[in-house]
């Protein structure tokens, strides 16, 4: 990878003509998107629009029925979560993907555990604990102990742990699926704070799915509207408004009902 490809503003991730069907359901019907390093793209749209499915294709969790994903301009085949991770793609899933019964540090290192040297490849709990502590401090999250079970944490804390996990693994492309859902104003504020600090680092491309138009326009550089598996509108955040987005959504619905 050349140094120029690493600088802010260059394209990090692109998807073209993504189609995804589940049996008779067409969740994505030819979706294209792109995001650059240091840029934050917001995806808006109703439940069932296909936002999460798009994310899961970008993380290698689902395979597209057709279409192509590009990382740093080169076409890639994201055949599994591990392959996507190798490209620096990390995701905070809508359901957070945390295991309640496991400790914070086990969750942070789930499926990329640090192992002790030696023939038995045992888990290095001590190093994982230490690094988990450091990773959380790094992004400004403090917990009483990384030994706490995740199930004992509040919604905001769990969200912070999920974000920390994605970031700690050296994400170049960070996908956030409704990171602010089901959260009080204070907790949402903390997460937005965290996301903005990540964005300020300038070397990460961020894609965030959200529901609140005003909030999304405020923190994202660009927004994209998804409806019934298609992208129906795209704009720079500065060039649109919540009212305009709402109007487009209404118009689409009327058209859909008439058609």
């Amino acid at each position: 990878m050349s140094t120029t490809a690493m600088s802010a503003g260059t394209e990090a991730l692109r998807a073209e003509g993504i189609v995804k069907t589940f049996g008779r359901i067409t969740a994505l019907n030819g979706v294209s998107m792109h995001v650059a390093r240091g840029e934050m793209l917001g995806i808006l749209g109703d439940n069932g629009a296909g936002k999460s499915t798009l994310m899961k294709i970008l993380t290698g969790y689902h395979q597209p029925t057709s279409g192509q994903v590009f990382v740093n301009g080169a076409p890639v085949d994201l055949g599994s979560v591990d392959q996507a991770r190798a490209f620096g793609i990390e995701c905070v899933y809508q359901d957070l993907a945390l295991v309640n019964g496991l400790s914070i540090y086990h969750n942070l290192f789930l499926n990329r555990e640090i192992l002790r040297r030696g023939p038995f490849r045992l888990l290095d709990h001590r190093t994982m604990r230490r690094r988990a502590q450091a990773a959380l401090e790094d992004i400004g999250v403090t917990v009483a102990s990384v030994d706490l079970e995740v199930g004992a944490l509040s919604g905001g804390q769990r969200q912070a742990i999920a974000v920390a996990r994605a970031v700690a693994s050296n994400a170049r492309i960070l996908l956030l699926d409704e990171p602010l859902a089901a959260m009080g104003a204070r907790e949402a504020g903390l997460i937005i704070d965290l996301i903005e600090r990540l964005k300020a680092r300038g070397d990460i491309a961020i894609v965030m799915i959200a529901h609140n138009y005003a909030q999304t326009l405020e923190i994202c550089d660009r927004v994209m509207l998804m409806q019934h598996g298609e992208v129906t509108y795209e704009s720079h955040a500065a060039e649109t408004s919540p009212a305009e987005l709402l109007e487009i959504v209404r118009r689409e619905y009327r058209a859909a009902r008439a058609g």
Binding site: L110, R121, D147
Partner: protein, 336 residues
């Protein structure tokens, strides 16, 4: 920004020091209450009957304990990843016959043992295949296997017992010496304890049972985990059956069965393994097995008749299951 977690009462929380702190931490562990029960039972039976802590009786108790504990080690892994194997008691009976047939056909005994274990592993593989690929709940898959394997065992044995092959040294090592079975069982416990606590396999087993979607999203191959634990459980069941056959000196087509399987599952659950998956310890399964074995032996020494004994064991298991579920709730686990 400050996300201070203030969740008190978690098993691992806080830097509490000193004896009181340690005791507190210990009592919050899932298997703690069972360890206390086990100790109380041993003391009670020793007072009630001075023969309890004698060499002869300890051998007997250890033999009650060994097989269910070995089976529990497999079932605990399965229960943690939300599966179960009801047919392991039938594999227990089949394995010695496979070994005996192989030895009879001219294989060296050690090779015959390996062959028997390989057949058991294959049975686990088939169970996994049916459960995972054909999406049949393991409860049903293994219920079918239970009958199927019984039929196979009765067919190849023609319903008759046979002497186990092998010289005295091998026979002693494989279960005939009074404490051989329990030594093997403790070895299995040690290895499985490390596997569950200190390997990726163990961690991924817990993750698969605790939140299967999260495990998959983290890139864990959940089907591989489930498959591996089915193979493990069948193999351990066959191994326990081999030990039992060598101890007695003969194979028995009706050995083990559902009884030994339920003792194994009950040992795990009494020891704190969550029936709903996602949590459990091997040490808990060992202690659960000890409690059941001590009860069984202690009441036999007391001369309580078999019917009464079944009532007591049944009540004890029910009590332990209720405690298991409610203590888990108290500890704040299982809230997903």
């Amino acid at each position: 920004m400050d996300h201070t977690a203030s969740a008190g009462g978690s098993a691992n929380a806080g830097p509490r020091r000193g004896i009181a702190g340690r005791l507190h931490a210990f009592l919050l562990r899932p298997e703690a209450s069972v360890i206390v029960v086990a100790v109380v039972l041993v003391i009670y039976f020793q007072f009630a009957n001075a023969n309890f802590l004698t060499d002869a009786n300890l051998q007997t108790v250890s033999q009650f304990i060994a097989a269910p504990v070995i089976i529990a080690c497999g079932e605990i892994m399965l229960l943690i990843c939300r599966e179960i194997d009801l047919s392991v008691g039938q594999v227990f009976a089949l394995a010695p016959f496979v070994m005996e047939r192989a030895a009879h056909a001219g294989a060296p005994v050690v090779l015959a043992i390996v062959a028997a274990l390989a057949v058991c592993a294959l049975i686990g593989f088939v169970i996994g295949l049916i459960t995972i690929r054909l999406k049949v709940p393991s409860f049903i898959t293994t219920l079918g296997m239970l009958f199927l394997i019984t039929g196979v065992t009765l067919t190849i044995s023609r319903g008759f017992p046979a002497d186990t092959p092998g010289g005295p040294l091998l026979t002693n090592i494989m279960g005939n010496w009074g404490y051989a079975e329990i030594v093997w069982a403790l070895g299995v416990v040690l290895v499985m304890h490390i596997v569950l606590r200190d390997t990726r396999w163990g961690l991924h087993t817990i993750a698969t049972g605790g939140n299967v979607i999260a495990a998959a999203e983290a890139g864990i191959n959940i089907n591989r985990i489930r498959m591996g634990n089915f193979i493990l459980t069948s193999t351990l069941g066959g191994f326990a059956g081999l030990l039992e056959a060598f101890r007695i000196g003969s194979t028995d087509p009706l050995a083990g069965g559902s009884n030994i399987m339920f003792l194994g599952v009950a040992s795990g659950v009494i020891g704190g393994t969550a029936i709903a998956g996602g949590a459990g310890t091997i040490v808990g399964g060992l202690v659960g097995g000890i409690v059941l074995g001590v009860l069984q032996d202690g009441f036999t020494l007391q001369g309580i008749n078999a019917f009464t004994f079944d009532i007591i064991i049944g009540a004890a298991i029910l009590l332990a299951m209720v405690a298991n579920i409610h203590l888990a709730r108290l500890r704040g686990a299982g809230q997903a």
